[in-house]
Symmetry: C2
Subunit: 158 residues, 2 copies
Amino acid sequence: MSEDDERARRELALLLRRLTVELDAVGQRFAQRHGLNRTDVRALVAIMDAARRGEELTAGRLGEAVELRSASVTALVDRLEKVGHLRRARDAEDRRRVVLQMSDSAMAAGAEHFGGLARDLSAAMEGYTPDELAVVRRFLVEMTDVIVAHARTPEPQE
Amino acid sequence: MSEDDERARRELALLLRRLTVELDAVGQRFAQRHGLNRTDVRALVAIMDAARRGEELTAGRLGEAVELRSASVTALVDRLEKVGHLRRARDAEDRRRVVLQMSDSAMAAGAEHFGGLARDLSAAMEGYTPDELAVVRRFLVEMTDVIVAHARTPEPQE
DNA sequence: TCGAAAGTCTCGATCATCGAGAGATTAGGT
DNA sequence: ACCTAATCTCTCGATGATCGAGACTTTCGA
C-alpha cells in the first residue's frame, strides 16, 4: 500500500468526522430556531422516529432513547409539554405508563427541517449510479461497524 | 427513477445518521472512561487537532472551537487543569492570552482512543479499490456540502 | 389477596453555562 | 510618549439541565 493510499484513507476518516459535525449542526440549528436544547431535539427526533415506525413512546422508553434518568425525563417532558410540542396521555392498557404524543405543529416543524434535508440528500444522490451507491452503502455499513466496535469495546491493553 | 432507487437513497441517508450517532458514542465513551463530559472531550479534541496542525490554542480560540462564552471557557479550563489534562501558560508575546498545553498523558490517552479508531477505519478501507474510495470520497464531500447548506441556510418559506 | 416489580413523579443537590462587569495588556492615533 | 479604545481572561451571581433517593400508583405473580 502506498503512502498516497494511506493519505487518502486518512482523509476519508476526516471526512466522516466532518460530516458528523455538520449533521450535528443541523440539529443544533433546529434547536436554536425553536428555543430548545440538544436533549430536547434528540427527544423530539426519537419520538418522530417512533411515530414513523407506527409506535408511540412512553416516558421510560424516551429516557432509554436519549439516555436520561426518569427524573430528567419528567423535566424534559415538562419542558416540551409546556411549549406545546407534545402532550402526556395515560396509557389505557397500563395506567402506570405515560405515552407521549407529539403535537401536529411540532411534527410539521420537524418534518420541514429534517425532511427537507433528507430530500436534498436524496436529490444529491441522483448523481450516482446504482453501482456507486452500492459501494457507498457497503462502505458506510462497514465503517459504522468498526465505529460501533470501538464505542462498545473495552480499551485494548498493551 | 424507480421506487427501489428512492428507497436505497433513503437508506443511505439513514446510514449517514446512524454513523454520526455511533461516532458520537465513541466520544461519549472516552468521556465516561475519563470522567469527563461532552464539552470537555470536544475541547481536548480541538486542542489535539490544533496540535496536529502545529498550533497551540488560546482560551479564546478554544471557546470558538467548542462554542462557549469566555466565562464557560474559564470553568472548562479549570476543570481540565484540575485533573491534569492541560495547563495554562501565559503567552510571552501577548500577555493577555492564555495558551493551553495538553499534558502528555492526556495526549496519549486521546491518541490511544481516537487514533485506534482511525487505524481500524483505515484498515477497513483496505477492502476497497482506489476507484471505489474515490466514489466514496465524492459522495461524502457532496453530502457534507448539502448538510452544511442546511445547517446554515434560513428556513425556506413556502 | 398480598407482596414485589414497574412506571412516573417530587424534592433537593450538583454542575455546566451564561451575562455583566472587573482587571490586565496591547494597539492605534496623535 | 501619551491616552483611549479594543482585546483577553477571569470573577461573581443566576439559571437551567441532570441526577439520586424516595414516594406514589398500578400491574404482575405466587
